[in-house]
Symmetry: C2
Subunit: 211 residues, 2 copies
């Protein structure tokens, strides 16, 4: 499988570039993020890819198929972490921290897909379905916060639903400002771990130095 | 001055509704947030407002004027808080906390305007100018974090720029999930204070209960 072109770069310079579904999807998501899904036509995609519309229709039936695949890639990543974490037999606060760390990793690794998910507004049935899955994920985070609170590991004065939203407000903000290095040493895993550390340092232990 | 229609409601039911610039702007921002600025034409605005395009042009020269006014409303609110806070002669960590609280208030009070700001992607010169002002604000937050760290009030192991972004990742997430009550008791100030408390509890003192 050809590797997908990096976000923001033009289609590969070839007379007649070939795309498999994976690389086509990567370019489509880049364009959706630049212009908005609603503002992107199949004509726009065809121009950016440098292939005809019928070549795109060889892979998908409609633009919305690309959206669905892209949003699923983000959601499957997040739920993959959630499934792994919720099955662990460790205290809820540890599961919550692992969920935050895993989500940071998914965001960093699937950045354009998660960015598209976070910008989805429910204008199409595919977006509404994705928003419903996001709410399910948020509920799962809120349930973990509540469980950790009952266990006495999280301060009792915070509202679980609001806390869950603030926690993932931090995590999701990565989509706005994190830019992966072009050729990170060690694949960038160290940097992503550092970001996860920073999120957990703020969220679980707070910024203030106790005096 | 007529009060602006609430976000999400249709234009007032009148045979020939009149708008002043303020109420016209409020409706325009609602439509921009629903459809995206690029995806909204003056025709769309005219339909939603129930007035002719020439009636809109009585107030503004172009669609971008509405965008500029809307983004300035958000940015002026945030910089208003920043100017107030930075002039105080209190420790940096207190100024930082006041800046976070004030920003939560601006977000709650000017929600559609800040939402539009947070979604601006730099596709027009007005958006690029707004993004430059946002970066200036982010820098101001990072400087405050660094100052509080030097003063020994913030843990020394966090990077000021990343911390500033995580902090405002939490604050800005309000634009995605906070919905003001239609007729809040006491104007909703209590609820906004509660949100600011929640953000500061997580950010400054952390979720974990010390054992």
């Amino acid at each position: 499988m050809r590797s997908a072109p990096a976000a923001g770069t033009a289609a590969p310079r070839r007379g007649r570039p070939g795309y498999d579904l994976e690389s086509l999807l990567a370019v489509a998501v880049t364009v959706f993020n630049e212009r908005g899904y609603d503002g992107t036509s199949m004509e726009d995609l065809s121009k950016r890819l440098g292939i005809s519309k019928s070549s795109i229709y060889y892979h998908v039936d409609a633009k919305e198929d690309l959206l669905r695949m892209a949003l699923d890639r983000a959601l499957d990543g997040l739920f993959g972490v959630a499934d792994q974490v919720t099955s662990l037999e460790v205290p809820a606060i540890e599961r919550l921290e692992l969920l935050v760390r895993g989500s940071v990793r998914v965001l960093a690794e699937r950045l354009p897909y998660v960015t598209l998910l976070l910008r989805a507004r429910g204008n199409t049935s595919t977006q509404r379905r994705a928003l419903a899955r996001r709410r399910q994920f948020d509920q799962l985070v809120a349930d973990l916060v509540a469980e950790a609170e009952r266990a006495g590991d999280i301060r009792p004065d915070v509202d679980p639903a609001i806390t869950a939203r603030l926690l993932f407000g931090m995590v999701n903000s990565l989509a706005e400002w994190y830019r992966p290095a072009a050729r990170p040493p060690g694949g960038g895993a160290d940097r992503v771990d550092g970001l996860a550390d920073a999120v957990c340092a703020v969220a679980f232990d707070g910024l203030r130095v106790a005096r």
